[in-house]
């Protein structure tokens, strides 16, 4: 059975909440029922059928033909199946995801994969700030799963992350891995200043160095660790290029000593 396709009719005049359009929530619904699902975030009613031309198919594979910066909460809370967006998305894509695969062809706004528990999110373009991070008032960010950003990520990538893996193939803004509780953040490009700001535990790879490392991180020498080759094998299917580089020796900085100092930043053996 082919995918269930939502083709964008015209650009939305308000921000829309696409969280209802996930495989588990659409399971068993007829085309008219799906078309009647409300997506508005203002007082102006907007249903799925108004925004999209719907071609019925397997609800386990949802395809959005065309995206928009106003597409908020795409795949939020999804538990299984696949969602592909051929275009950009707004805030909180894949927030609190518990399984399945979310693929975004364009750029994602802030808080993508926020608080995610399991599953895979792939963003072909750039990601906004606080990818994987918690919303204001929440104490924990990403709790599991894998996020791959082919482009750059904004500030505070992996904020308060507790478990799981974020791979950024491009650069990140300032404070990547801020307040990390645990988990792994791998940045292929250069990171903005102060990676691992106030991190307790967890691992950050700043593969191309950082604009500025906090003096509260202590140099622990250059090591070729078995754990990194295990991580490389795990990363291989998501990002072969990053996996290959990961197998090199890395300089290990431990910190943030401003808090408990059990975290680590791996950076190039020779600082650049």
């Amino acid at each position: 059975m082919s995918a269930l396709i939502f083709t964008l009719r015209e650009e939305p005049l308000q921000r829309v909440d696409l969280a209802p359009l996930t495989p588990d929530r659409l399971l068993g619904l007829s085309e008219s029922k799906i078309a009647a699902i409300e997506l508005q975030t203002t007082r102006v009613r907007l249903c799925a059928g108004d925004l999209f031309k719907i071609r019925m198919g397997d609800t386990m594979q949802i395809q959005f033909e065309g995206g928009h910066e106003r597409f908020d909460r795409v795949g939020a809370g999804m538990t299984n199946g696949e969602i592909n967006v051929a275009g950009d998305v707004g805030i909180q894509a894949g927030r609190l995801m518990r399984g399945g695969r979310l693929t975004i062809g364009g750029t994602a706004g802030p808080w993508a994969a926020s608080g995610m528990k399991a599953g895979t999110v792939t963003i072909s373009g750039h990601a906004g700030e606080r990818i994987g991070g918690p919303l204001p008032g929440e104490t924990v960010g990403m709790r599991g799963g894998v996020v791959v950003v082919r482009g750059d990520a904004g500030a505070r990538a992996g904020d308060r992350m507790r478990r799981g893996l974020i791979i950024v193939e491009g650069r990140t803004g300032i404070h990547p891995g801020s307040r990390m509780i645990a988990g792994t953040l791998v940045v292929r490009g250069r990171t903005g200043s102060l990676p691992g700001y106030l991190m307790n535990r967890g691992s950050i790879f700043a593969m191309n160095g950082s604009d500025a490392v906090s003096p509260t991180f202590a140099d622990s020498g250059v090591h070729e660790l078995v754990a990194n080759s295990l991580l490389a094998s795990y990363i291989q299917p998501y990002s072969a290029d990053v996996a290959a580089i990961l197998r090199r020796p890395w300089r290990r900085l431990i910190g943030d000593m401003a808090v408990i100092g059990k975290g680590e930043i791996f950076c190039p053996a020779v600082p650049n």
Partner: protein, 302 residues
């Protein structure tokens, strides 16, 4: 006892009687194959029989770098015990004292199973707070800082309750030399069978035992029926042409693996023939009432 003759070798129409055991498997890796073997040999030392060692353990096979989780050379080790608690205790002590201590080592689960034993979850405390947990997919690892870097191990390893211990072949020959030659051939052949180990020295036991003793409190004693120096005792099971007896004991993760190992061992012995090898083979049992697994030699003939 009725006998068959295959390639000039007498095969008793009897069976090996084996017992259910709890078992686990580990993959041990190191910078080189030699150091992986060293860790495995140390860990499986003094593990010939549950009677006196608490567990039976041995090397299943060597692993190429592309067969191990970290891409380094490795060894697969199997560990057998009579209860889950004893297996857990032996696993923790042996990995803690022999693998953790070995230069450059890492230790991974060698068996996927529903039930699990603690591996890193028991050893992590050695890290004294500096240990790091990493979860990659469904697998959790512990990284424990040690003096040459880090010791990495899985949090848990699989436990099987379908394991079998005590499959055996008893080899009889005209001299010590020919008997050993035949038994060595069998050991070599069994090494190629997956999921089994031969826990005794070099895979061979020369002091086969029977249950009980004339002495109070001794649970096992020499199998006098198979001692060639006691052929005249009146209880001997040996023929006049037999001057030496050796035994192979087999532990396997499954009953099928034990049967396959016995089949491979018998084939090697029978192929060698009586002039250079064994005159007769038999198997040890307790009348069939103690162990649930019976391996009839005639069913395992090549």
């Amino acid at each position: 006892m009725s006998q068959l003759t295959v390639n000039g070798i007498r095969v008793d129409d009897t069976f090996a009687e084996a017992f259910g055991m709890r078992a686990t498997a580990l993959t041990i890796t190191a910078h080189s194959a030699a150091w992986a073997h060293q860790a495995a040999i140390t860990m499986t030392g003094f593990a010939t029989s549950v009677i006196g060692c608490g567990c039976e353990a041995g090397i299943d096979r060597s692993l190429k770098p592309d067969e191990t989780p970290d891409g380094r050379p490795g060894v697969r080790v199997l560990l057998f015990a009579v209860s889950t608690s004893e297996l857990q205790k032996q696993l923790q002590n042996r990995v803690g004292q022999c693998v953790l201590t070995s230069p450059g080592s890492a230790c991974y689960a060698g068996l996927e199973a529903k039930e699990e034993l603690k591996l890193g979850n028991a050893l992590r405390f050695f890290g004294d707070g500096w240990q790091v947990s990493k979860r990659l997919g469904n697998r959790r690892y512990w990284r424990i800082p040690v003096m040459d870097g880090e010791f990495v191990c899985n949090a848990t390893t699989g436990l099987t309750k379908d394991a079998v211990g005590g499959g055996n072949i008893i080899v009889m020959g005209a001299s010590g030399e020919t008997t050993l030659a035949a038994t060595e051939r069998a050991v070599e052949a069994i090494a190629a069978v997956p999921d089994v180990i031969l826990p005794f020295p070099g895979g061979i036991v020369r002091s086969g035992s029977k249950v009980g003793s004339k002495y109070k409190g001794v649970i096992a004693s020499t199998n006098d029926m198979f001692c060639p120096t006691l052929k005249g005792s009146g209880r001997s099971a040996l023929d006049s042409d037999v001057a030496s007896v050796l035994e192979i004991v087999i532990d396997g993760l499954t009953s099928t693996a034990v049967a396959e190992a016995m089949r491979a061992g018998m084939r090697a012995i029978l192929t060698l023939g009586p002039e250079r090898g064994a005159l007769r083979i038999t198997a040890g049992n307790y009348g069939g009432k103690l162990g649930p697994h019976h391996y009839h030699l005639k069913d395992l003939l090549p």
